[in-house]
Point group: C2
Chain length 596, copies 2
């Protein structure tokens, strides 16, 4: 089927239902960050396979909306004869719809693929123009998508308490108490991560996110109804693992369960930002009272318990072995003939192969960003979207990668010399690393949000008239999503107080278009600090142990404390990772961690 | 009249009007930070004279609500037999009213003394409990307050363009353009500061705030109707100063002007946070369409023009002479017999006397905080509220003061040795000063809000387990209020971007209850910085030139850059202020600015 044929088929469906438009978001019904291949409806209709965006199909035209990361890619992947290209943020698609359609028009949408909050705001926005927003019972794309991939059916995994550190029963009852206190009968959970955390289960439904796609209802008494593909639990004793008050049913039975709650007039809490509009509509129509609130699993999930922190330390140490072996191999490879036989793709594969040798490794935690020279100036570069660039022509290489391990999730970026970096590159690398160090050393009192700390990582760049256009740090899950909230260190960021057990990245960078890119990233866990002062303060405990490239440091741009920090860090790397390396790799580590 | 009699009189009035409660806020009808003596209704009913608070009078009881600054003071000033003491923030008075009264009750309030935004929110809050909020045509306190002071009638001042830097016509037309663009017919201005800024007028209506209390309507064509006491302009040519399209009428005529706008169906913009509820009610009843928006004068007023910045530099240099002479005198006085003959009050008076000798000095910009030893641990200490503490028993003294000059407003805090400060005090002074220096040195790109920079001033304290419980910096007006928005450097603070011409204080501190207090404060103006980088960045230009007490610095708690900064600052102080001092004072300056 060509994209023209696909558009025509969807337009036919719209016409039959008396609709003037249909909205195709990137999301699936769980509204998480990652979606499985069978949910790539935006790709099916348009050919665009980025991680965010939306299309709007009208009777006579269509438009695709993507953000700044994807304005080049969308032009490569989509036919301009079929789609107008628009900016997702600067030209909201609801405004475009309102411009294109007259009062009295009807806009269809699949309520499973949009949040409750979006539905309410969008309905109000279009109503201003006299346009109706119509939830559809079936997605017209699903009707026409005949070669759709089958959903993943690999079995789930019951995560041992040795890894999770807390039994599901304790987690469920702790949150159920908060529901009871608010007079809420049940909490609807719709995202994979909180459900997998709550039940100490994991899965392989989506690449890089080791979770079982599912919905769940957590009742006031702590019981959970889990809605997921039962085949994934065929060989597993879910009730034995979680407790008998956790029951499993196919996803198709969620609707009936919501209707039953509604029929009993239950007060059901859901997060309007993440729960899909469909579930809210089903509940409301059945008579439930909706209680909007943030998902109560998110904060306890973010605050790792001591067993999870212990596991993260161990996972990061193993991960350091893979990254050090890769960097050692890279330096050796550069000294051999024909480095141009390696490219961004073979480098990424080599790094993944080192990780794959490690015990408890499950899969990468995201698609490796392996970027040479000017490609590194694109923060979200993917070598697989074009011809990978070859070694041998650039001065520096940026590699941002991570692993999912049974005991933790890693995420590390190193920028290393692969040629002859000049003074300007070394200056900027040193300023970026200095910002990383200043944030890593920060202590802060209870109540401090990431927004308040973000400037620490930027200040060395700001002082010289530079900046970077992304957040400084994101939350990281425990053998779950490499991106999690609510904690975040960013100028747009969150005022959620940073507290014990939260894992965050510390990743300032610098990007010069068409020239080069730099990023220095470790993960850190928030811990209480020991001081002689009046008030308790927190500090960051470092988790990542891989040398920063000394060849890129120009000490003229450091203060003495940064030199001390780096030398101390490298001494710790040598002490921790040295015993796990041998031969050439150990020799590499020893020279890479020499004091400045 | 005793307070019991006053309460009884107000209760009689309530009964006659069928009211169950009456709310007495601290504010006057302009809802600014300062109020004149004839508007001190909260003091009249309760005896409490702090700068914020509210009382609620019921038929059989009353309560007074104050914030953390005033919990001690209110117990000294108010009779517990007449008033319950409650916390303004933790126990909102609307919640207390809702607890005390039954559904069907009627709560009276003076709509001139509450904002439009408060009225809307309070009405909704009380309606939840079935309680009606009733705007009163006359304030019952005014009916019974027989010995009420007369309003200030000192003449206004027409501020020359030599000081203001921009003619009123230019200011008015610039803002009128923004109204026209939004289809707004008129802007209602209700606070003294924006009106005085817009018309380049000043006055003496309130101590420390050199403004004429007034209301104004700015029309789409740039014309202004000013509502103020015409007697204050008797000898002045307002139209000649501002332009013929600025007309003056008594405040009592505001109601008719609002009604006329309403009758014409005008769209009238006002700031619900600062415009009183009465003006909104008058407009609405008359048929106007209200457009809620932030006061459009606030941002241009905050961004001082080059003439205002030039004036501020000059005012600060003169002010430095007064503060240096005071500190020099203090050191000499301490070396003389009987220092205990001086107390916090005589010290404050002496400092004010030095300022009063200066050209272009008008008045203090706020009541001097002159605090010895443990008194300095109270951030808003006023020596006039009790017996001033005497010199001779404490190690350090904190003095926070400022002046209103025709060419600018100053605000400076110095903490100085008046005894034998120990290692702990010197450590904490050095950490506070280090935070001051780190913030003073910061550069930042366009779009950076004060909230993002606040941590810089706290980090040296945070690292050692200390903090301070107030904002780091407030905006400062130009020969206007020493506190202005929208700029602010604070953890609760504003994301309004800091930009060229904004003047801010930089005043980290440390307070140890019952022991001592430290604060280091200079004013700074935001300016573009010169770098070799990619992007424009701003920096702070220092305005305040008075030595920080070297005797309190323990260099062990500084990094080399802080020593350099302080030595450089002191060299500049010597260079700038030295030529303005003589004799003993100059000798003092020379030793006070020696390199560390």
């Amino acid at each position: 089927m060509t994209y023209a044929t696909r558009l025509a088929a969807v337009r036919d469906s719209l016409k039959q239902q008396g609709l003037d438009a249909f909205i195709v978001p990137h999301d699936d019904e769980h509204l998480g960050e990652y979606i499985p291949p069978h949910a790539e409806r935006l790709d099916w209709i348009s050919g665009f396979n980025g991680s965010a965006g939306a299309a709007v199909v009208l009777a006579d035209k269509a438009a695709i909306f993507v953000d700044g990361r994807y304005t080049v890619q969308v032009r490569h992947q989509c036919d301009p004869a079929l789609f107008e290209f628009r900016h997702l943020v600067n030209e909201p698609f609801l405004d475009w719809i309102a411009e294109q359609l007259n009062a009295g028009s009807r806009v269809g949408f699949d309520p499973k693929l949009h949040s409750r909050g979006w539905h309410q705001a969008a309905e109000a926005r279009l109503a201003e123009q006299g346009i109706a927003l119509v939830p559809l019972a079936q997605n017209p794309i699903d009707r026409h998508w005949h070669d759709r991939p089958a959903p993943e059916r690999r079995p789930a995994l019951l995560l041992d308490q040795e890894y999770s550190g807390q039994h599901s029963e304790a987690k469920r009852h702790r949150i159920a108490e908060t529901l009871k206190a608010k007079g809420v009968d049940a909490q609807l959970l719709t995202q994979a991560e909180p459900i997998n955390w709550l039940l100490n289960i994991r899965g392989r439904d989506i690449p890089c996110l080791p979770a079982v796609l599912s919905f769940a209802l957590l009742h006031q008494n702590g019981a959970v109804q889990l809605f997921a593909d039962p085949a994934k639990f065929d060989e597993l004793d879910l009730a034995g693992h979680c407790g008998k008050d956790v029951t499993l049913a196919p996803m198709a039975e969620l609707e009936q369960a919501l209707a039953t709650l509604g029929a009993n007039g239950a007060r059901v809490q859901l997060d309007p930002a993440t729960a899909n509009a469909w579930s809210a509509l089903v509940l409301e129509r059945a008579g439930a009272e909706l209680v909007p609130a943030e998902d109560p699993c998110m904060l306890p999930k973010a605050c790792k318990n001591p067993v999870e922190v212990h596991g993260s330390r161990a996972a990061h140490l193993r991960d350091a072995v893979a990254v050090c072996r890769f960097l050692a191999w890279l330096d050796r490879r550069l000294a051999e003939p024909h480095p141009e036989l390696e490219d961004e793709g073979t480098l990424a594969d080599r790094l993944e192969a080192f990780r794959a040798e490690l015990p408890e490794f499950v899969e990468p935690s995201f698609s490796t960003i392996s970027a040479l020279g000017p490609n590194a100036a694109m923060c979200h570069y993917r070598h697989s979207n074009g011809t990978p660039r070859q070694l041998g022509q650039d001065a520096i290489y940026l590699v941002d990668s991570g692993g999912q391990y049974l005991d933790g999730t890693t995420d590390i970026t190193r920028t290393v010399a692969v040629g002859e970096p000049g003074a300007e590159m070394r200056k900027l690398f040193t300023l970026v690393l200095r910002g990383h160090i200043d944030l890593a050393c920060a202590r802060f009192p209870a109540g401090t949000g990431g927004l308040q700390l973000d400037a620490l990582a930027r200040l060395p760049l700001w002082q010289q008239g530079y900046n970077f256009d992304h957040g400084t740090g994101h939350g990281v899950g425990h053998f779950l999503s490499v991106h999690e909230g609510p904690q975040r260190i960013s100028p747009k960021g969150s005022m959620v107080p940073l507290t014990t057990g939260m894992i965050l990245s510390n990743e300032p960078g610098y990007y010069r278009e068409d020239a080069f890119g730099i990023r220095c990233e470790n993960l850190e866990v928030v811990q209480p600090a020991d001081t002689d002062g009046d008030i308790p303060v927190f500090e960051f405990e470092n988790l990542t142990w891989v040398p920063f490239d000394r060849r890129l440091v120009d000490p003229a741009w450091f203060e003495p404390k940064h030199v001390q920090w780096l030398n101390h860090y490298h001494a710790q790397v040598r002490e921790k990772v040295g015993p796990l390396l041998a031969g050439n790799d150990l020799a590499w580590l020893e020279q890479a961690t020499r004091p400045l």
